[in-house]
Subunit: 687 residues, 2 copies
Amino acid sequence: MSDISALWEAESIAVIGASERPGALGRKPLDYLLRYGYKGRILPVNPRSPEILGVPAYPSVKDAPGPVDLALIMVSAERVPGAVDDCVAAGVKLAVIASSGFAETGEEGARLQEEIVAKARAGGLRIIGPNCIGAVGYENRVLATFSPLFGAESVPFEPGTLAFVSQSGALGFGAASLALERGLRPGWVVSTGNDADVTALEVLRELATVPEVTGLLGYLEDTPDIGTLRELAGSGKPVALLKSGRTEAGGRAAASHTGALATDDRVLDAALRGLGIVRVDDIDELLDVARVFESERRPTGNRVAVVTTSGGSGILAADAVEAHGLELSSLEPRSKEALAEIVPAFGAIDNPVDITATVLSDPSLFDRSLDVLIADDTVDIIVAAFCVMAGPDVEKAVNALSRAAEKGGKPILVARTGADFLAPDAPRDLREAGLPEYPTPARALRAAAALWEVSRPRTLPDAPRPGTVPGPGAEATEPELKRLLAEAGIAVPKGRIAESAEDAVRAVTEVGGTAVLKAVVPGLLHKTEAGGVEIGVTADTAPEVHARLAALGGQVLVEELIDGKGEGVELIVGVHTTDLGPVLTAGLGGIFTEVLDDVGHRLLPLAPGEGAALLGGLRGARILGGARGRAAVDIEAAAELLHKVGELVQDWPAGFALDLNPVRVLPTGAVVLDAALGFEAPQEAGR
Amino acid sequence: MSDISALWEAESIAVIGASERPGALGRKPLDYLLRYGYKGRILPVNPRSPEILGVPAYPSVKDAPGPVDLALIMVSAERVPGAVDDCVAAGVKLAVIASSGFAETGEEGARLQEEIVAKARAGGLRIIGPNCIGAVGYENRVLATFSPLFGAESVPFEPGTLAFVSQSGALGFGAASLALERGLRPGWVVSTGNDADVTALEVLRELATVPEVTGLLGYLEDTPDIGTLRELAGSGKPVALLKSGRTEAGGRAAASHTGALATDDRVLDAALRGLGIVRVDDIDELLDVARVFESERRPTGNRVAVVTTSGGSGILAADAVEAHGLELSSLEPRSKEALAEIVPAFGAIDNPVDITATVLSDPSLFDRSLDVLIADDTVDIIVAAFCVMAGPDVEKAVNALSRAAEKGGKPILVARTGADFLAPDAPRDLREAGLPEYPTPARALRAAAALWEVSRPRTLPDAPRPGTVPGPGAEATEPELKRLLAEAGIAVPKGRIAESAEDAVRAVTEVGGTAVLKAVVPGLLHKTEAGGVEIGVTADTAPEVHARLAALGGQVLVEELIDGKGEGVELIVGVHTTDLGPVLTAGLGGIFTEVLDDVGHRLLPLAPGEGAALLGGLRGARILGGARGRAAVDIEAAAELLHKVGELVQDWPAGFALDLNPVRVLPTGAVVLDAALGFEAPQEAGR
């Protein structure tokens, strides 16, 4: 038993603050443990009662017969430090602190929270909470919670394979209750409240190691730790997260600094996408995804076949296929031929395949058409969409679908737009057949898209390396940065510092006769606006331009003029560091970034192909492919540049913001025309 | 009784094809009429039985004792023409043809369908269907349907105030069954199948005149008739439509012709938005919107206050407010002061207002905080978000909310993320209190947004005038179009045709000394590419340029040079005609239209303010406001230009496509630089 897994494996549970008083919160866990048949030892702790609900009670957890696998602390905030001391003294390894009155109430509470965390860490005790509603492990009937959910008259309580972990206890148990009502089977429900020590994400990571778990569902309020996220993703178990707080005040205004374009929420989106973790926007969507996580069938592609008995459902399903980024298979020619033999003339053999209500009189239609779709190599996922159907009709459909799912191994999702009172056994039958069921085609397809998201083959990016290589300092000049870039194999314009007016003439000749001259003045941020850049300088004009730029107080850089004919496309590329690690941002320059906010983000290190995927996902991506009569530019070189930039900077200590703006992508190659480095805070030695 | 309202008012119903055989479709309507207590006369028609289910039957509807208000035809397709003849002979005014085998099966069926429609029209009979599942009016228990829905063991059957009309019978009755299951109350369910005569939209329009109807919900597959849509919107009843077929093959590729940018689906979006009809994307959303249509409280603005007992629900609600285009009220200062007195210290008095779980011990918290929000003039809609709560707690909340709703008249929506088994009376109590309930904050806010959409004050645009004014013909040249524009008060460059090289010199001088010369050659579509445009012509160069352009075979237009300094922003503006009427399209030129597809559409005539709203809704709208260091341009002039263009063309006969490309919007004013007119088909005399 690991420390955390005591939440569902504990063989003894102490309830500190246990009470017999009807209605008291401290009574509920005892009620629940007794009611649902917990097989371990129940150890009520209450200094004033020798027995509670017929169970021997102890004045302190120290007095309870050990070992105590799990302590549930339900005393008022000011008595929590004492309870923590007692747990440490009793050798308890994990405590769930349900009590409120900590960081959620303000500074004083935050201090109290720090105090108990310090005590616990010193004493080898891990803490879940405080300010949580506790946890439930269904298999062993570990109910370390006071959630009213388990006090209801009739609560389904069969252990399932879904794990729900929520920072908000109210939302977590609320969602779990909806899950039960909708026929889903949670096996673990954990609320972690203030996440003072153990975080919701750590609990998810621990649950990912439990063999019986088929799907992990989380509700988070705090920004997740990237290392834990990576480990969670690495478990191979499907994960869906609802992270609240998408709305962010400001921060999105036009900015050419890439860091300012990357809001925390967008960086998190990028991180989750890279890791193959589904991000959902609502509890309803979380539960819909949970349903598809109950089945272990996985698609090997994103091509959908829709089979329906109602033309209307079929059209709605087809609309949803596109809306959710899946593909409607065009079906193999032999499939269409086979379907033409099977489907009535007034049906449809194109995808969606409409087998019509005739199936009600001839159920073999289901079997025969599903056989065709199962055998079709252009079909990865099947969605069966039905409307109002009475009990016996649904039974026939379920039999056919169940047989097809077994046979083909392809995931089959069902959209049944009809009330359960029409077919009371349908939810159970579908469930037993491993066929996730949704009330509408759109919801089925949304879940199918999530299933593909967690099933898509992907190379998980390496964890970032510790930032021990010293990066360039705040004083790094443009030529110094460009030298670093060049050493990393990234193209920069040919050029050098010209030491004098005469040297500038020589340098202009060296770079081809027409040059760009730039003032190199540490701290001069807006070179162009300050008159520090001159384009199209020749040997004739070089001395005068050199003199003018040198007068700005620094050195003068002479560079070859790239793309004097205006060909190519400008990108803005940057890397800055965030709580989730270094983030690469790239977009098309000009109005795309400044007006349309059209940029993409990826966490470093990039996995293979991510650079190209980032560029391909831009709204203005067609510009790179040669829209509006222009030549296509070298997208491969641009993508390679993103990877090389990522490689170069990923060992730099945190706190920097590198801006390569612009990068010009040419018909062949991509060149960094300007580079600048900023720091958010005094540079630290380590990350 | 109007012809159509017999669907819910019929005092006598003939069932043609009635049968006593168990399981026969022709038996079901009789079963249902008898089972649910239809009070009118039931007239089974069957040539072989004198009595069916104890009711006297007739060999033909002609033999049945009249008047027959409604005939339900359930015979096979080939016998339908005879049944229609009989209905006409019997003086029936409305027949529901359930039979399949018509246009949905192909050409032969389509011919049969035309035949029965022709017979019906000649005989004064209106037809619902064919290929439908029939209709139900709850109040009078008119069940002219064979839907299995009404054969279920236990079906809720209390008349409600919602009207569902669906082309697809399966989806319509499927959605109705889900509505019942979710505690919604349909009062009318009508399926219209092939819409051969009476359309789904006509039925909705008829239902809009029924005083008891509080909300109209439709599922459409065919493009709706704009005139009927306008009348429906004009009824003032809230309407939500699910129109399938968003996915369209092709047609979206880059195009500078505005007509090609306006797909049918986008035009329909524009039409519905203009009319204040909610468009939904899924059956689930349709039902969620239906729920808020059951209440008749309407918001007077879009500012939301969220009150919650769970921080998590509050954050999710705030996220959803933004996602659905509503506003989170910042609350009046006096409200915050008042809330500070009421809400516990660990709650929150900013919006979302978190009154915390303390409310469970002190229910007055609900009343007092709701009183504050009801009195706050910056709050138009209140969303109360709860999680898992047991029965008595919900009861207290419902009491407080109900009282507040009565008192304030502001709509209050409830998000209760908890299973019904925790509070079995909650759905009923909330329903009786007129408080629409949703399982998650996101769904409550989506419904709130729909409620605001149908409640927003709007001037319904006038119906388009009949297109009797002849528009310009296909041969209209650029100067002729510009003359028309100028007569309509739309700015065009000063200029005229130059008859000769010498005249060109004079004309250049007249327009200010520097001019644009353009070849005016009927049929020359790509003037610029063909070398037919010369910019910056002076008196010196005018003769030579005139000679070159005249050589292209037409006239030469001399125009003043607008904006030689490159100031201003270019728009593309166009009008083309569609099945829904003339559509105005506008967007920023260049990459915005060609790469980003960033255009807006409005049906003509424009309602006041729609031009500005269209421009403000563009993704690149900030360009007009002066992004990237440029001066702002005259958005008012641009909006006014859209209205004037709309006025000018709206009387032209259908079939044209007018393109004003570019229109240059200057710091003051907006000028049409080029104009072209195309025709989709030979121009017809009328529309």
